[in-house]
């Protein structure tokens, strides 16, 4: 038999994973215009990695953030001769972060988070009904 009130933990794990994703997206957007000189690496886009957690009874115990992967440190080389960090050829390095991609990820993460909150609320209703047994 499953643990008591386990659906709360499952929904919470989902909220946590989506919140981590949202944090990563916010970080990517905050750093998307970091200019570096061409001999320095560019800011690397963060990708959150997750994995399903298998429960003992096969029902599943939610999701877990397993780590973060980084995008290209090469970035994009741009011609900007007036920039103080520009090299002898007038080039600077910018992060290869696409704002439109980040916006899409942000929507996905937000909706995913909301779905898990809904899941939590439904679990709460169900448990309240269970607690009314014999009343």
């Amino acid at each position: 038999m499953s643990q008591m009130f386990s659906s709360f933990a499952v929904a919470t794990s989902g909220m946590g994973a989506y919140k981590t994703w949202l944090n990563a997206v916010a970080d990517n957007i905050a750093n998307m215009d970091n200019v570096t000189s061409t001999d320095q690496p560019a800011f690397q886009e963060r990708f959150v990695q997750v994995q399903a957690v298998d429960g003992p009874d096969g029902v599943g115990d939610g999701v877990r953030v397993t780590g973060v992967q980084f995008g290209s440190a090469d970035g994009i080389i741009q011609y900007d001769p007036n920039h103080p960090l520009a090299d002898a050829n007038g080039m600077v390095r910018r992060p290869d972060v696409s704002l439109s991609d980040q916006m899409v990820y942000m929507q996905l993460a937000q909706r995913g988070y909301q779905a898990n909150v809904r899941s939590f609320e439904t679990a709460k209703e169900a448990y309240e009904s269970i607690l009314s047994i014999g009343r």
Partner: protein
């Protein structure tokens, strides 16, 4: 199966049903938590057929809860969770649970009447 006045086949069957519904609720919560996890296959919980069979055999406690993976088509990331279906199933499951709880409460109310005579 011990047939006493307090725990008869009906309450046992209802208890097994709550067990199954509880497992399904957790599975649905897990599916929603993993709606974007690459390679995750939605889990489905079945117990109704087994419970019906167990009741027909006269021992509701012999019912099993089975968990299987959905065979639905996967998206590009190898995930096949359908969020509309899961949210709907979750609501339906919660309603089913209330139904079973009400049935259990009705049964207990009957017992209480028999015990207290009021």
């Amino acid at each position: 199966m011990a047939v006493s006045g307090i725990s008869d086949g009906v309450t046992q069957a209802l208890r097994m049903a709550i067990n199954g519904i509880d497992a399904r609720q957790q599975a649905i919560a897990g599916n929603i938590a993993n709606v974007d996890t690459p390679g995750y296959l939605a889990r489905q919980v079945r117990f109704e057929d087994s419970l019906a069979q167990a009741m027909a055999d006269g021992d509701p406690t012999g019912a099993d809860v089975t968990v299987s993976q959905s065979l639905a088509a996967t998206r590009l990331n190898g995930n096949n969770v359908n969020i509309d279906f899961e949210l709907l199933a979750q609501k339906e499951n919660a309603l089913r649970q209330r139904l079973v709880v009400q049935a259990l409460n009705a049964k207990y109310a009957l017992l209480r009447t028999a015990i207290t005579g009021q």
